[in-house]
């Protein structure tokens, strides 16, 4: 090793390696969370595939169910899509919630979590920043699903306001669910196992509901499950809003379920996040 070489000599650098400016004041909680939300946006921009691999599946389901079973289930594909699409929206957005846990797990395993923890920021900012990014993720997915729906003949009677309200309600519930995946994300070893674990719950939850078919012909025990499944209520609420016949009972059910899930899991998730590792 020959000491200082020409290219890296401090004096010959065209840029100062150390900052001459004074130390800025640490950012507010909001600034920190917004900056981390910006990070989530950049990730969507750079890795759009991350969004598509979970969205493609519900889109395929939409096409398959509409054309394969639509006629048999509802008389015609056009009529069936009116029933199916508000439910598919629920499934799509709930699937995407898993990414909150996957992202957190990746941050921890890659070491960027350490970097965040060593910054003078509000300690929960990375979690809330990730959730902020999720808003955009959910919205992009919703637009994709709705666009396909329109092409297939979906005509919501509730108009734009109804659709927007439905998307907002589904997103609200999605946020509560994301807390559970955050916990999974901190418990399991790899991002892949976050996926596997989470879908183990999400598949039965979204299929054993009224997203795809009216549960009237299901066996009694399954009907009983479908009746208490929050996804059923969310699908009902989404349908009601989109078709201009708000189902206030289901909406209340969804809001209460979201509140309970958040109240139980958010504190656990944040406590786990702050625990040293």
């Amino acid at each position: 090793m020959t000491g200082i070489t020409e290219s890296t000599d401090g004096g010959s650098r065209s840029h100062p390696i150390l900052s001459q400016s004074t130390r800025p004041r640490p950012p507010s909680a909001l600034t920190a969370a917004t900056a981390l939300g910006w990070r989530a946006l950049l990730k969507i921009k750079h890795v759009p595939f991350q969004l598509f691999d979970v969205t493609v599946f519900p889109l395929m389901m939409t096409l398959m169910f509409t054309y394969l079973f639509g006629g048999a289930l509802a008389g015609s594909p056009e009529e069936y899509i009116q029933y199916l699409l508000p439910g598919i929206l629920v499934q799509t957005i709930l699937f995407i919630t898993v990414y909150t846990g996957v992202g957190l797990n990746t941050d921890i395993s890659k070491g960027i979590y350490d970097r965040f923890r060593s910054l003078p920021i509000w300690p929960s900012a990375p979690v809330f920043g990730a959730l902020l990014g999720d808003v955009l993720r959910y919205s992009i997915a919703a637009i994709m699903v709705l666009t396909l729906g329109f092409v297939l003949g979906f005509r919501p009677q509730g108009g734009l306001i109804g659709v927007v309200l439905a998307v907002a309600l589904v997103q609200l519930f999605a946020f509560s669910l994301a807390w559970i995946w955050i916990i999974v994300g901190m418990k399991v070893k790899s991002p892949e196992s976050v996926m596997t674990t989470s879908f183990l719950f999400l598949f039965p939850l979204t299929f054993a509901s009224n997203v795809f078919v009216n549960p009237a012909t299901m066996p009694g025990w399954l009907q009983a499950f479908v009746a208490v499944n929050p996804v059923t209520h969310l699908a009902d609420a989404s349908r009601g809003l989109m078709h201009g016949q708000p189902d206030f009972g289901s909406m209340a059910w969804v809001l209460i379920a979201a509140a309970i899930i958040t109240a139980v899991f958010a504190p656990i998730a944040l406590r786990m996040y702050h625990r040293e590792r």
Partner: protein, 315 residues
């Protein structure tokens, strides 16, 4: 003397494992201090404790005059840690990573962009700045990682194994950067498994093993503590090494260590060296070459821990 870091009997217990087992050390302000030890010695845990990422289970420490237990947030704002694995977001570009961290440190958007541009220039990453970090080489990632630790000038920079896994060229670049940073007055505490790295960079170094400090001083002092010199012997026939080792061990109190071509022995001086060579001659173990020199840090480590450090792995 002002100390940037002072620890007293610092301990960290992970569910029964004593990762740091009573480390007391002092790091002078503005110096480069090396923590040297093999994998699992407790280097990373020590650094994470001092950077306030972990809470000690025992002992005390003052970092920049602040108590580690009660003033962690104050310390956190004044130090930077570059962890063992590049702690940047691979999905983002180098520029975006730096802007994000600058924002999180409290810079405005404008200042963040300006500082990111400065650092990309200073770390030879101008061209790569717009590319996703996942396309970077190991050396580029490391440079970005260190740049990310310098957005705000830290009073102490912790570098955890800054050159592990780097090719020699990148390693030299990182070494130059560490020297530049230290020359500008920032205290640097680095951990390394490479004796050569500690020797190159650190003003003082501490050798740790099994969570304990086993030696501390300048590299010259450490070398001197082991013995005045080392006799390196290349055998004509390496298969005689065991025989040679036995002969030497019976003839000296110094450490005998096997090397690729023969043996090295700690000696008190040239007289003992001559005597040992004579012993081999009489024992019918022909010597091809020999040299008397001051001990390498490898030998220091061996003398201190009784374990062989494989210097061949040095990048």
């Amino acid at each position: 003397m002002n100390y940037a870091i002072e620890t007293l009997d610092l301990r960290k217990n992970f569910g029964g494992t004593q990762a740091v087992d009573g480390i007391s050390l002092k790091v002078a302000q503005g110096s480069v201090f090396g923590l040297l030890g093999p994998n699992g010695a407790g280097k990373t845990t020590t650094v994470r404790l001092l950077a306030t990422l972990l809470t000690p289970t025992g002992g005390s420490a003052r970092v920049l005059g602040h108590d580690l237990l009660t003033e962690a947030p104050v310390i956190r704002a004044k130090v930077s840690l570059t962890g063992q694995f590049a702690s940047v977001d691979e999905d983002l570009t180098g520029q975006e990573n730096l802007v994000l961290l600058a924002r999180l440190l409290g810079h405005s958007w404008g200042d963040s962009r300006r500082r990111a541009a400065e650092l990309l220039g200073a770390f030879d990453l101008e061209e790569a700045g717009g590319r996703q970090v996942r396309t970077y080489s190991g050396g580029m990632r490391r440079r970005l990682d260190i740049a990310a630790s310098l957005i705000i000038t830290p009073e102490i920079l912790f570098l955890d194994e800054p050159t592990t896994g780097l090719d020699p060229r990148s390693r030299n670049q990182v070494w130059d950067m560490v020297r530049d940073i230290a020359a500008l007055g920032t205290t640097v505490l680095l951990t390394t498994q490479y004796l050569e790295e500690a020797d190159q960079l650190a003003d003082r170094l501490a050798v740790i093993d099994h969570g304990r400090l086993i030696a501390e001083g300048t590299s010259r002092e450490l070398k001197a503590s082991v013995g005045s010199g080392t006799l390196k012997i290349h055998l004509q026939d390496v298969s005689q090494r065991a025989a040679a080792e036995a002969l030497l061990q019976s003839a000296t109190a110094g450490q005998v260590q096997a090397t690729s071509e023969g043996l090295s022995v700690q000696v008190t001086g040239s007289a003992e060296a001559m005597r040992l060579l004579h012993t081999l001659e009489e024992g019918a173990v022909p010597v091809a070459e020999f040299a008397l020199g001051s001990p390498s840090l490898d030998e220091v480590f061996f003398a201190l821990t009784g374990k062989k450090q494989t210097s061949e792995e040095t990048p």
